[in-house]
């Protein structure tokens, strides 16, 4: 259909590679002539065709008034380079925070756009590679916070590929854009894979085992309830007597601990193992179990609660990932 498709693709690939080399991972980025690319959009190229047609008309009819219109439109096109560039120029983009997500989910990344002076900037489209675009407008001076969804394709640190910020505002003849790469401390957890029938390894137990085995519970003492502890352990009687909120402590907790153990998943590659462990961690938390995590060279003592869950998942996410330059997880 399009004879130039191959060439266009090649040019696009080359440009992308070149742009990636130029694009350093940054923590804050001021958009200026060094960072912004600008080229005519499709409509802009069409506009040039119009100008050429008018030039032919003027030349053939030797009509200077047609030339005036032709040159006026050409100058309009040239000035629109400056104007469109100004839509992004002078903006500062900062990453604010990102939430950790499971692989495959879109991570909500919060960015902060700031400008020194009030200035209307419209139709700015933000898009992480592979993600949907989002259109924003800026007006006032100062900070504007925007949440963009970044697709994730690999576990590890959240490093959502290139963020493309682009605009054709106001005339649509030019497209100004930039690529920025941000690093976030947020992690991308392994996507959980359901795996019920796992033989329990050393001292490990399937979930539900603990919850059902009430007879083996051996109540020892009460301690102050801390946020994050399971409600199952709340000493309701004491609470009902208005003696405060206590949680019950049991003896021999080892027996009732669930271990999510690397060694249980022998015979699979790393990612498969981590995916199943991720599921088990989530399932244990959902059940209210007390669970620990064993990875080669690392052991997380059993506990429960949101913080514990996050710690465990983060460990799984970052397993084998180099602290410094974590494997990128950009999509596509």
């Amino acid at each position: 259909m399009d004879p130039f498709f191959g060439i266009r693709q090649a040019v696009r690939r080359r440009f992308r590679r070149w742009a990636e080399r130029r694009t350093k991972t940054v923590s804050e980025c001021r958009l200026n002539h060094r960072r912004l690319y600008i080229l005519p959009s499709k409509a802009g190229l069409g506009f040039l065709v119009l100008v050429a047609a008018l030039w032919l008309l003027g030349t053939n009819y030797e009509n200077n008034l047609v030339f005036i219109i032709c040159f006026l439109l050409l100058s309009f096109w040239v000035v629109s380079i400056h104007i469109t560039h100004g839509t992004l120029s002078g903006l500062t983009v900062k990453p604010v925070r990102a939430e950790s997500v499971f692989k495959g989910e879109a991570a909500a990344v919060e960015l902060c756009f700031s400008q020194d002076r009030p200035r209307r900037r419209e139709q700015i489209s933000l898009r992480f590679a592979g993600g949907d675009s989002q259109v924003i407008a800026l007006d006032k001076a100062g900070d504007t916070f925007v949440t963009v969804l970044a697709p994730t394709a690999r576990r590890g640190y959240l490093a959502p590929g290139l963020l493309t910020i682009e605009s054709e505002y106001p005339v649509g003849l030019m497209r100004v854009w930039t690529h920025i790469r941000f690093r976030f401390d947020a992690a991308v957890y392994p996507a959980p894979v359901r795996d019920e029938a796992r033989p329990t390894g050393r001292g490990g137990s399937g979930e539900g085992h603990y919850a059902g085995a009430t007879g083996s519970e051996d109540f020892v003492a009460l301690k102050t309830f801390e946020a994050g502890e399971s409600l199952r352990h709340v000493a309701w009687k004491q609470y009902a007597r208005e003696q405060g909120l206590w949680s019950k402590q049991y003896a021999d907790p080892v027996e009732r601990r669930t271990w999510v153990d690397w060694d249980d998943y022998a015979g699979m590659d790393t990612e498969q193992r981590l995916a199943r462990m991720s599921w088990k961690v989530c399932a244990s938390e959902a059940n209210g179990s007390v669970y620990g995590l064993r990875l080669p060279g690392f052991e997380l003592q059993p506990a429960q609660g949101a913080t514990h869950l996050q710690t465990a998942l983060r460990r799984l996410a970052l397993y084998g990932v180099d602290e410094k330059n974590g494997a990128g997880n950009e999509a596509g």
Partner: protein, 676 residues
């Protein structure tokens, strides 16, 4: 999730309400701009399409179904084919653009479609100057372009915005900043000349002196105050009585109508560029530039006897100039004329002698009889001419409303009615001379014109049209004889407007022409200014390519790449000027308070000495820390910090900025360190 993504995509390509409004507006103004060149049914179709699209948008009317659309397209194609014999001309092209645009409106939803339509609107608007090049028309074209530019902006506006003039403001801003660059391009870009032959607009009626002359035709021209051409002399304007603008030479008479004759044989009509063998040129020539209004005829008007090196202009043996093609747009011609000359003094070719004395058989027997009688009595041509002119002078009347004449026009005019306009006098005089055996011919053109009081140019209007005679005299050649002058000598010295200003027939076609009210000083001043503006427009804009080299040389002192580059640089600077000014003003506003500037300078000095101020550290805390770390400069540092703090935060404190400035300037941490 997926759905919202799709909705977002939809919002990206869907045309907003404001965008739709502006595109419709742009289309409507294009149709109105070109209404006089479009067949009425196209105009109506276009406006109906606009209305339909509006109703469609409001949900009152559904989108036209497929078959109906096909029917509409077929109808338009058939209509165009019926309206125009050939589609390869300018009007059919314009009509096609407008019809296509209108039909496309009905199914326009995408931004992309809207953008294409805006481009079509721009092109259609830019065709305007091909049809008409006057100033008001061009202002109209520019306004339409501005509306189209606003439409382009509106398409790219956020969808949520309602109807607004916002896009127009943005478009005008961009257009305004585009003007300097446009001017530079206009000045510099070379004009290459037509690449291929082009269809010429056909809607205009031919105007001006026609290629034949029958009684009553010239008095019709007097009804019009339209400009025929303008002339700028490279020096003083010659006397009014010399301004006989020759255009056509009529040698064939059929009893009623004078027409141009064709020459042939060795007397071929078109002269070679440098062949002036048939003319004796005496004295020095006058140079002038004629700016012709489009007449859609080929005749050019010049003083006798002209020479020219204009491309595409032919010089004919009877000393007139003819353009290679019909004059379809305003154009300048540079001519030189030798007012003092002898044309064909050496004698006429025998067939030419026959041609210039031939009379139609069976017409005007009375005149033929009397002419032969007079010729016997006065064989000398000069004396005979004087005798005929005396006849005119004795009892003839020069009038705009001559009585109608029957079959023997000359007989009736000369011996019965004796009331006529210039063509009656010229026709009867030439007939008489021919009957007397002297070669004679009628010349058509314009006489005089209005000399602008301050600028050296002459405006010739249609009512200046005139016909006179030329008689060939042995040894002298063709001599101009204006029989009208014998009747109304004031016609030569005054313009027709002065002569017939109160007459009914004068300006009969333009009842409200301001020329009717010239007696009021202000009106007269206004007319002169308008004439000058028109003249400048024709010279400096419409005919700019003739001035281009001159203008660039005068503007830049030469034409070479660096100079042209500088011109564009200057244009770019003018374009950017508003932005630079805004930036400069803002920078000044952003500048720090002077005391703060001083303290920052102090901090920079310390930083260079290896003592950076921590983020969020107050200036006094910082000074105390520095004092602790480097006791040798403790006094100085603490003094500066305290002075600053008092200056900045204690309002009761008298300003001691200068003191602080001196302290900071003297402060040199590096020196202190080395000394210790």
């Amino acid at each position: 999730m997926k759905k919202t993504g799709q909705e977002m995509k939809r919002a990206e390509w869907q045309l907003s309400r404001n965008g739709l409004f502006w595109v419709l507006f742009a289309f409507a103004v294009v149709v109105l701009l070109h209404m006089e060149y479009l067949p009425p049914w196209i105009t109506v179709t276009g406006l109906v399409c606009v209305l339909w699209r509006i109703l469609e948008y409001r949900g009152a009317v559904p989108f036209p179904p497929g078959p109906l659309k096909a029917l509409l397209v077929a109808g338009c194609v058939a209509g165009l084919a019926l309206t125009y014999p050939s589609l390869l001309a300018l009007e059919p092209m314009l009509s096609m653009l407008v019809a296509g645009f209108g039909l496309k409106l009905l199914e326009m939803h995408h931004k992309r479609d809207a953008v294409v339509l805006v481009y079509v609107a721009l092109f259609a608007a830019a065709m305007g100057p091909v049809f008409s090049q006057d100033i008001p028309g061009f202002i109209g074209v520019l306004l339409v372009c501005a509306v189209a530019a606003a439409a382009l902006v509106s398409i790219n506006q956020p969808k949520a915005r309602g109807l607004s003039m916002g896009p127009a403001v943005i478009a005008l801003k961009i257009l305004a900043s585009a003007v300097p660059l446009m001017l530079a391009l206009f000045l510099v870009m070379p004009r290459l000349g037509a690449f291929w032959s082009i269809p010429v607009p056909k809607h205009q009626a031919r105007t001006g002196v026609s290629d034949s002359m029958a009684p009553g035709e010239f008095s019709e021209l007097v009804g019009s105050d339209k400009v025929a051409f303008r002339v700028r002399f490279d020096g003083e304007v010659p006397a009014r009585s010399m301004l006989y603008w020759r255009g056509l030479v009529f040698s064939d008479f059929d009893g009623r109508e004078w027409t141009q004759a064709d020459f042939y044989g060795s007397d071929h009509l078109v002269m070679d560029t440098y062949d002036y063998s048939h003319v004796e040129r005496l004295g020095s020539p006058v140079s002038y530039t004629v700016t012709m209004e489009p007449t859609h005829r080929r005749w050019l008007f010049a003083l006798s006897t002209p020479g020219t090196t204009e491309r595409g202009v032919q010089r004919l043996r009877d000393s007139r100039l003819v353009n290679g093609s019909r004059i379809s747009h305003r154009r300048n011609y540079e001519f030189r004329s030798w007012l003092d000359h002898r044309l064909e003094p050496g004698g006429l070719h025998s067939y030419r002698q026959r041609l210039e004395t031939s009379l139609p058989a069976g017409f005007n027997p009375e005149t033929v009889r009397i002419a032969r009688e007079w010729a016997r009595e006065t064989p000398d041509a000069d004396t005979l001419i004087r005798r005929v002119l005396e006849l005119y002078n004795r009892s003839f009347v020069y009038t705009l409303e001559p009585p109608r004449l029957g079959r023997h026009t000359v007989d009736e005019f000369l011996w019965q009615t004796q009331r006529g306009f210039c063509e009656h006098f010229a026709s009867s005089f030439v007939f008489f001379m021919r009957a007397a055996g002297h070669p004679a011919r009628v010349v058509g053109g314009y006489l005089g014109g209005e000399v602008h009081p301050t600028e050296e140019f002459v405006t010739v209007r249609q009512y200046d049209a005139h016909a006179w005679a030329e008689v060939w005299i042995e040894g002298i050649g063709w001599v101009r004889v204006d029989p009208t002058a014998a009747v109304a000598p004031e016609r030569i010295e005054m313009s027709l407007a002065d002569l017939f200003g109160d007459d009914e027939g004068f300006l009969a076609n333009s009842q409200f022409s301001p020329l009717r009210f010239r007696n009021f000083g202000l009106v007269n001043w206004f007319i002169l200014q308008r004439d000058y503006l028109d003249y400048a427009w024709a010279t400096w804009v419409l005919g700019y390519e003739r001035q281009q080299a001159d203008v660039l040389n005068r503007l830049l002192g030469g034409i070479d790449a660096p100079r042209l580059g500088l011109l564009f640089l200057a244009a770019a600077l003018v374009t950017l000027l508003p932005y630079l000014v805004v930036r400069f003003v803002n920078r000044r506003r952003d500048r720090l308070e002077p005391t703060d500037q001083l303290i920052l300078r102090f901090c920079r000095k310390l930083e260079r000495a290896g003592l950076p101020r921590r983020t969020g550290e107050g200036i006094l805390d910082f000074a105390r820390r520095v004092a602790a770390e480097r006791p040798q400069m403790a006094n100085e540092v603490l003094a500066i910090a305290n002075t600053y703090a008092m200056q900045r935060y204690d309002e009761r404190h008298p300003p001691r900025r200068h003191e602080l400035k001196m302290m900071v300037r003297r402060f040199n941490p590096a020196k202190k360190v080395t000394h210790s």
